[in-house]
Symmetry: C2
Subunit: 150 residues, 2 copies
């Protein structure tokens, strides 16, 4: 992006959807750069964090919790398992399922990724005061809640 988007059309510059997408793009770029330092991507972070916080789960469950498609979970878990950050084991109670568990290495990596996330967070919200950050968070939370429930 760099020197791009110096002056978007007036009809866009004030539209919330445009603003939302632009800031999200910036945030995504920052996140990608941060995660890239760990040689991982957003999907990996979401999955690792979900496992670290809520314990082992099936791939379908992980997908639902993280908002990732089942088929995309497969690939991401493959990566994580290949790195030893996660273990895939058949569920003895339901032979359709795999139980995914985070390893110690995975937990450590998740913690490191968390620090990266925090740093990105601060960079992103740098121009906002603490109360403004809360405001933004609350507004976005409400939007999200409204649009994901039904």
């Amino acid at each position: 992006m760099d020197s791009a988007a110096p002056q978007s059309p007036a009809g866009l510059r004030t539209t919330p959807t445009w603003l939302l997408n632009q800031t999200a793009t910036h945030a995504s770029r920052l996140l990608s750069e941060g995660f890239a330092a760990h040689d991982l991507r957003g999907y990996h972070y979401r999955l690792l964090t979900a496992l670290a916080e809520d314990g082992p789960a099936s791939q379908a469950d992980l997908g639902r919790r993280c908002g990732i498609d089942r088929s995309d979970v497969v690939a991401a878990i493959n990566d994580l398992a290949g790195r030893g950050l996660v273990v895939r084991a058949p569920d003895p109670a339901d032979r359709r399922r795999n139980v995914i568990s985070i390893t110690d290495d995975g937990t450590a990596e998740a913690r490191r990724l968390g620090h990266t996330l925090d740093r990105v967070q601060r960079d992103l919200l740098a121009p906002l005061s603490a109360t403004e950050r809360d405001q933004l968070t609350r507004l976005l939370t409400r939007l999200l809640a409204h649009h994901s429930r039904q």
Copy 2:
């Protein structure tokens, strides 16, 4: 997404970057659906709007104004020109450039797209009061301004 993202990991649910990306994803989905009804996409809308508002321009200029890469402008303008919404003509004053102008059909389509955009806007911001919408807009504008200037 549908039934997805019912409960994201706690570590994500409150992070602004996550909220931003999620709401932006929702907004993008709404926008895509809206634009799809016109058989167009986001890039087309941005370009058409820029042309409608600020008059004819070279492709490189359009790219800079809309935050679209030069190479992506080529394809989008091809589409628009193929639909007769836009005209591509060589610039007599600078033979490197093409001058892109919007046609009457293009102007009409831009107006229709604008209405779609407005509807999406209202859908997206439905759960927010007028002052809250302003708040959100102002916060996002400040974030964007901070991150695109240097």
